[in-house]
Subunit: 132 residues, 2 copies
DNA sequence: GGCGATTTACTCGGATAAGCATTGTCCGAGTCAGAAGGG
DNA sequence: CCCTTCTGACTCGGACAATGCTTATCCGAGTAAATCGCC
């Protein structure tokens, strides 16, 4: 399991929001400074989470980002899939499953199994667990 | 589970060798033609498998590649790790586990769990299963 | 005719470019608060 | 003194480069067999 840097940023940021959320939204710059993340890039990641309805954003002074759901209802799976795309079994190159190549079909099935297992594990950890 | 193209090439090639292995080694060009793989690139992948002691290579006329072990003793895990490197839980960016950031530690542990699960699944499928 | 050096064709092997995804950065659009001016 | 308007600063939002890894390709090193010449 190799987690992309962007996905890691998303996880840390969401956790930080959950920890610090008192009432007002958290500005992106605050998150970037605390978690040592390049501010511009962090915004790009957070926007993805906003599109996926995990975070809400507000502009203007005293604006920022906030959670849309309780922290214990947000799973690592949601965050990762929102940023990296869906986790499914895919084989590099070509998808002509019609190929008579038996090895390709079996490999695809095994990859699907791995993906399913990964999703199960990732769905068990919530932002509450990350924040502690 | 996203399988890199190179790893897929390695799996198909190894399976092809296991199927066609009568007595003499199989030339790389034969494998490339049968599996529709760019010949030059396939060689690079096969060399990796030779270094990992999964295949043996012989040069000169009537040379080629052959299995070093029985087909039912070669697992997908071996092939993939030989080409893509070890499957472990790693988080993009920095590895300063010493960070007081709790989220990072928990994330690392979850990634390790996912990696371990993936290894278990991949170790259950052998080249014999792929060839049928 | 038999033996040996040479050539030849065939293989793998490693070093070298091209393509693409991830990562990182920039400037513009939107929004609220506060200050200034007029009624 | 209060209301309206304007200005300003602060925020997110999406479009634009730089970097690294995956993928692909090329030419050189090595080997065994077949050939040709010589004994």
């Amino acid at each position: 399991m190799r987690l992309s840097r962007a996905a890691a940023y998303g996880i840390y940021a969401t956790t930080h929001i959950a920890e610090k959320a008192k009432d007002s939204p958290i500005p992106g710059q605050d998150i970037a400074a605390t978690c040592s993340i390049p501010p511009g890039h962090l915004l790009k990641v957070l926007q993805q989470l906003v599109k996926s309805r995990i975070l809400s954003s507000e502009r203007g002074p005293s604006g920022g980002f906030a959670l849309r759901k309780p922290a214990n209802k947000i799973t690592m799976l949601e965050i990762i899939e929102s940023i990296e795309g869906p986790i499914d079994g895919e084989i590099g190159g070509f998808d002509d499953i019609t190929s008579k190549n038996r090895a390709k079909g079996v490999s695809k099935k095994v990859c699907d199994d791995v993906a399913k297992s990964a999703r199960n594990i990732l769905a068990k950890t919530t932002v509450s667990d990350l924040a502690g």
